[in-house]
């Protein structure tokens, strides 16, 4: 029961897929493996598999389409050697991955731009972590990680407080 025009759907899906593909391939090339092609190919294959899954699979299976890309990028992250540029690409992959999720052409709510406010919050936290890694001298990267986790804890706290307030909405409003 989607209400979007086919042309609109196609354009949105392409932007998200391209962003994720560039980020994943860039991450694979810069992660420090002996051959940059291996990492790049891993990222490209993962993203291509996710895009194909989302476009071709039956509707009931589409929620799982994020798995190939997520697993491929996670593998790249695990195999990557430490470096500021690598950290930047890992963070960029996370942001691009979320944008690709928001850019789902099959959902009536699917629109990459609509997801930007939520993604911006994540981007701020990731950016803070990466900036700390880049600015601080080598060996103190734990501070960057700690900053990211601090941002995560703050976000959790904000959400919990927010839910408590919204939970007081009277169920009789609609009667």
């Amino acid at each position: 029961m989607s209400g979007r025009a086919p042309a609109d759907r196609g354009v949105d899906g392409i932007v998200g897929a391209l962003a994720l593909g560039v980020a994943a391939v860039g991450f694979g090339v810069t992660e420090g493996l002996p051959s940059p092609w291996v990492g790049g190919l891993l990222g490209a294959v993962g993203v291509a598999a996710s895009v194909a899954w989302r476009q071709l699979a039956p509707p009931a299976l589409r929620p799982g389409s994020l798995l190939p890309a997520m697993v491929a990028i996670a593998l790249e992250a695990v195999l990557a050697s430490y470096g500021a540029l690598t950290a930047l690409f890992a963070g960029a992959c996370g942001i691009a991955f979320l944008y690709w999720l928001a850019d789902d052409p099959e959902r009536p709510t699917g629109n990459g731009r609509n997801g930007l406010p939520g993604i911006a919050v994540v981007a701020a936290a990731v950016g803070l972590s990466v900036a700390l890694v880049a600015v601080l001298p080598r060996g103190t990267a734990e501070v960057g990680v700690a900053g990211g986790l601090l941002a995560l804890a703050m976000a959790l706290l904000a959400v919990l407080l927010n839910r408590r307030r919204l939970g007081t909405v009277s169920p009789t409003v609609g009667r």
């Binding site: 992250a77 996370g94 009536p108 993604i119 990466v130 990211g148 976000a155 959790l156 927010n162």
Partner: protein
Amino acid sequence: MNGEPARYGVHRWSARTYLLLGGGGVLLVAAVVLRNPIPVFFGLALLLAPFATSWNYPRALRKVDLAWEEVGEGLELQVRGTLTAPFGGSAQDISVHFEPPLEVAVERELSYDRGPDAIRFATDWRCRVPYLSHPISAVVTWRDPLGLGERVLAGRRPLLLVERSAPDLRSLRSVRLPHTTPIPGGVRTHRTAKSGEFDCLRQAEPNEAVRFINWKATARLGQLVANEYEADQRADVILFLDLRPTSLGRYLDELLLSVGRAACLGLVRSFLRHKVRIGFASFGEFVHAVPLSSGRGHGYRVVQAIQASELAREAAVPERGAFGMRRFFPPGTMTIVVSSCTDDPASDLAPYLRRSGYPVVTLSPSPLPLREGSGGLDPARELLARRTERLVRRFRLAPLWRYGPVVDWEDYGSLEGLGRALGSSGRRRLG
């Protein structure tokens, strides 16, 4: 995000959220084990995203009002509605959910026309059966743009009553139902009343109304005499709706029950128009009944009972149905059994009701029109299959004629066959 709708304001995660949180957690553990912080930079986005999107919920959408109506005609149903709230840029994230009734086929999927202050939606259905009466409820949700969760929104949610008129028993006017007798074979004593057919003259009472005085007879006899009338002879009829599941399967059973409800509603409205006392009983596992009565208020009660009739989970033995009838209705009352009669003849209600003293007319909605074309046969084979099925069905219904007239009801839009059967049952003085 399937299943029961959440309460207003409660945020529900989707399966995708758990995948993200699981992936982020694995990356966090990997970073600690490998002493490599890089997985955290990717995992951080996965862990934060669900909470960030939940935080992104637009506060202006705390109350979204729904207004909707059904504007189609005949078998076509067109549902049109509007959601109103200051949506702004969040209109893309709002959707309305409702289930079409089983008796309709969706001709056009739900489509939206989204504006900043109102979202219009529309869908088209087509009725598979001539009668439909369903209250439909809707749930309005906000879904975050990443598809990680949804929130049920509050606001006015009126029920949409989708209704199509029941078939009418047009030939009822010519049908003389057999009058109810207290005991089978008994005759009711003479009754007089203030209206009806003229019966005799009687001495006027001191406070007799002027309109009852027969002035010519008064002048002739030299004393005040008044007219006496014969009470309206009212027939009683019981509608007995069979709710037991059959071997046809739940889908066809539901459709046939919908047709049966249509027949009952048509009969109730027609009979009550002609001052007939109506009783209604439904039988699934037990008998539920509305006692005999007439009038507008009673008609409302019976219509409510018909609309509330649902297919039973288990099929009870027919003896229980006949026994239950004796608790609510006097024997000898004309009973119209509405049953598809598709299973074993031992499950038929008519023999047991007849033995309990109820004259029976069986109205049997045929499943054949609902099954036409379901096998993917070419036209010639379809015709042959239809003729064969019809013969089998006639063979199946034939033994029931021992207990009363049987109407094999295939033309759901008309109850003329039942009208003829009721007329013939009256002439044969059943009961």
